[in-house]
């Protein structure tokens, strides 16, 4: 339906170009409400609690965590994979949907890309903390050194991760900023000349004027960065899955991991985008831009990727049985019916069963209902990583070394602290930067605004009711009639 020439509008409220500018600049240059200050103070407090727990870990040592000789990494790597996955929706929306010319992405790409960047920051914290001596993190780089010039191990997926995550962060940041420059210029020209805001936005917008040549280059760069980001986003989570898949542990050593992880990442990312966008559209009053149409489309993606993940769970079980490997079979039975059965079934219910409600259009178009389901998706995808990591480790090759794992308050505080960090960054973003890509939204106004697309659509619906459609609206009829 989204490729039809005349379709339901993506921007409602009879917007004009000026109205779009007004709507997006008002929350930036106007005063923030007391609610923003209270919320930001709270999330910043949570963030500092997390930083405190990180400082405690570094001061006392990794012994403050619940890890033991058998389960050597658990909560930190779970959180790392969880946060990296959250980021993937942003790149999918901005890059892959750009290549597929999906116009509905334009209302949500800015915020989703911002979430990518913030999520990667949260993710990057965990491997660095787990080193125990984060000041030696530069040992991961291929630098000349005094250890007999012993280089880094290029056979190790952990090293590939270093390159993948840092490239992902850099490219996402550049892609995001490329799109921001014209919108920052828009804010600059609305600010009072000579004011502090004008000075800051002048500095940030790099002297953008919007000349024809600048826009031509802008579009060339956006397209190439989208083309680069598309394989990049698939590679990042594939490489994250290699951390497990290249090992020899039952439950990890499977070839299905890369596609399974990528689908899961997009699933969890859309879960988080839905959670935050439903709040953002409510708080910043952007319901004309992030319409029910958008929530509907995102819910469909969530349903599709959720079922891919569910299919991967089934495949894993089938292959465990079909392989005839005794250990492989045991580890999967242990996942579902062993001491961590509750985490396995939390994962399956949140990721596979609960999103099935999105088959119903009415439910997909009810924002608060979708919001609640998106929370379940977030929880389910966190449990997926916990299940993969902990259940494969806790019963290893010698029965005498079987152990249980439970996180300590330090680990939990660090994890909750990263939510504080993520939300604080998001709140600052929503306050000081345009949350919707203004220039791109303006460029689709005449094809997707309700006073244009909507009128033709309404006219067509009215004529159809009367039984005679004028030739001018024929394209709409072609698009409306399903091809058999």
């Amino acid at each position: 339906m989204f490729e039809s020439p005349i379709r339901e509008p993506l921007i409602t409220g009879r917007k004009t170009y000026r109205k779009i500018t007004d709507d997006l600049v008002a929350p930036i240059l106007g005063p923030a409400s007391w609610k923003w200050y209270v919320t930001t103070a709270f999330t910043a407090g949570v963030m500092f609690a997390g930083f405190g727990a990180i400082a405690y870990t570094l001061w006392v040592g990794i012994g403050t965590w619940g890890l033991n000789k058998t389960v050597g990494w658990a909560f930190d790597i779970t959180n790392f994979v969880f946060w990296i996955g959250i980021g993937h929706a942003g790149t999918l929306i901005s890059a892959i949907l750009l290549l597929f010319r999906q116009r509905w992405r334009m209302a949500i790409n800015r915020a989703a890309e911002a979430m990518t960047i913030f999520a990667v920051i949260c993710a990057g914290l965990f491997p660095i903390i787990h080193m125990g001596r984060p000041w030696l993190a530069f040992w991961f780089l291929p630098l000349p050194n005094t250890h007999g010039s012993l280089w880094v191990n290029f056979n190790s997926p952990l090293l590939w991760d270093v390159f993948a995550i840092s490239t992902y962060f850099t490219i996402s940041l550049l892609f995001w900023y490329t799109g921001l420059i014209p919108d920052l210029a828009m804010v600059r020209d609305r600010a009072k000349p000579g004011s502090f805001a004008h000075a800051v936005y002048s500095l940030l917008s790099f002297g953008w004027t919007g000349s024809a040549k600048q826009w031509q280059r802008f579009e060339a760069v956006s397209l190439v960065l989208a083309g680069l980001s598309t394989p990049l986003v698939l590679s990042v989570h594939s490489i994250v899955s290699f951390d497990f898949a290249t090992s020899i542990l039952p439950g990890w050593h499977t070839t299905i991991f890369p596609p399974y992880f990528v689908a899961g990442a997009i699933f969890s990312g859309f879960g988080m985008v839905l959670t935050l966008m439903i709040i953002t559209r409510e708080v910043l009053d952007l319901k004309d831009y992030i319409t029910l149409e958008h929530i509907d489309a995102m819910a469909k993606v969530t349903l599709a990727t959720g079922m891919m993940v569910g299919f991967a769970y089934a495949t894993e079980f089938f292959i465990a049985w079909y392989s005839g490997s005794y250990w492989e079979r045991y580890i999967f039975l242990n996942r579902a019916f062993g001491p961590y059965w509750w985490s396995y079934w939390a994962m399956v219910s949140c990721n596979l069963f609960i999103p099935q409600v999105f088959w119903f259009k009415k439910l997909r178009r009810s924002p608060w209902f979708v919001f609640i389901i998106s929370i379940f998706v977030n929880i389910g995808m966190w449990f997926e990583r916990f299940v993969i990591i902990v259940t494969s480790l806790h019963r290893d090759f010698l029965a005498s070394s079987w152990r249980m794992y439970a996180p300590t308050w330090v680990e939990v505080t660090i994890f909750v602290g990263t939510f504080g960090l993520f939300l604080t960054l998001y709140l600052l973003f929503a306050r000081y930067l345009p949350v919707i890509a203004a220039a791109e939204t303006k460029s689709i106004l005449k094809t997707s605004g309700d006073q244009y697309a909507g009128l033709a659509w309404e006219a067509y619906q009215a004529q159809k009711r009367q039984g005679s459609v004028s030739p001018a609206l024929q394209p709409a009829m072609d698009a409306d009639t399903p091809k058999s």
Binding site: T16, Y17, R18, T21, P142, G148, S149, L150, W151, F154, N155, P157, L159, W160, F163, A164, S166, T167, T170, I171, L174, F175, T178, I181, P182, A185, M186, R188, D189, R190, S202, F206, G207, W208, T209, G210, S211, A212, K213, W215, Q216, R217, F218, E219, A220, V221, L223, V224, L225, L228, P231, L232, S235, I239, A438, A439, E440, K442, S443, K446
Partner: protein, 168 residues
């Protein structure tokens, strides 16, 4: 300070038609500024295709070469480590980093080239003919004073909402 005659338009279709008219009448257009990318404007102005994508390919190739030569030098030539007799030239293991550095070089260098050719940098003063050019109006600027009289009548004819002389 140079003076410009500017015309403001509130509709991209009118703007495109106006650009065509100006070209037909041989009125030299100094610059066209729009608040959003207008499709077909680069064709109407006969702008040359951007070579940034070609540059990105070269940058990417540079990244591929850098990554491969770095890994082969470090792992195979400079300090080959015997890990259980495994190969010192494990080509498949080199692929992920080679891919990542290809993307990194292409993306970062292309972004920097983009800023460079557009002369965009922090602290640059923007040449704004009218504050509405980043908001809701499209601006055609004429710098050649000899063409102003023709231009003024063309602005009127092509439906400009406003025409004025600005000093920038």
């Amino acid at each position: 300070m140079p003076k410009y005659l500017i015309g403001l338009y509130d509709d991209e279709d009118k703007l495109l038609a106006a650009v065509e008219t100006f070209r037909k009448e041989h009125v030299p257009i100094h610059e066209v500024c729009t608040p959003f990318p207008v499709h077909g404007l680069d064709h109407a102005l006969h702008l040359k295709k951007s070579r940034l994508p070609d540059a990105a390919f070269v940058y990417g190739a540079l990244g591929t070469l850098t990554a491969l030569s770095m890994q082969i030098y470090m792992y195979t030539i400079d300090w080959p480590v015997n890990i259980g007799g495994k190969s010192n030239l494990p080509f498949p293991s080199f692929i992920p980093i080679t891919f990542e550095l290809t993307v990194l070089f292409a993306g970062v260098l292309m972004f920097l080239s983009y800023l460079f050719v557009n002369r965009l940098y922090p602290g640059r003063k923007a040449l704004i003919y009218d504050p509405r050019q980043t908001d809701d109006a499209m601006v055609i600027a004429i710098s050649d004073e000899r063409a102003w009289d023709t231009a003024r009548s063309l602005f009127q004819k092509t439906g400009a909402i406003e025409a004025k002389i600005v000093e920038r």
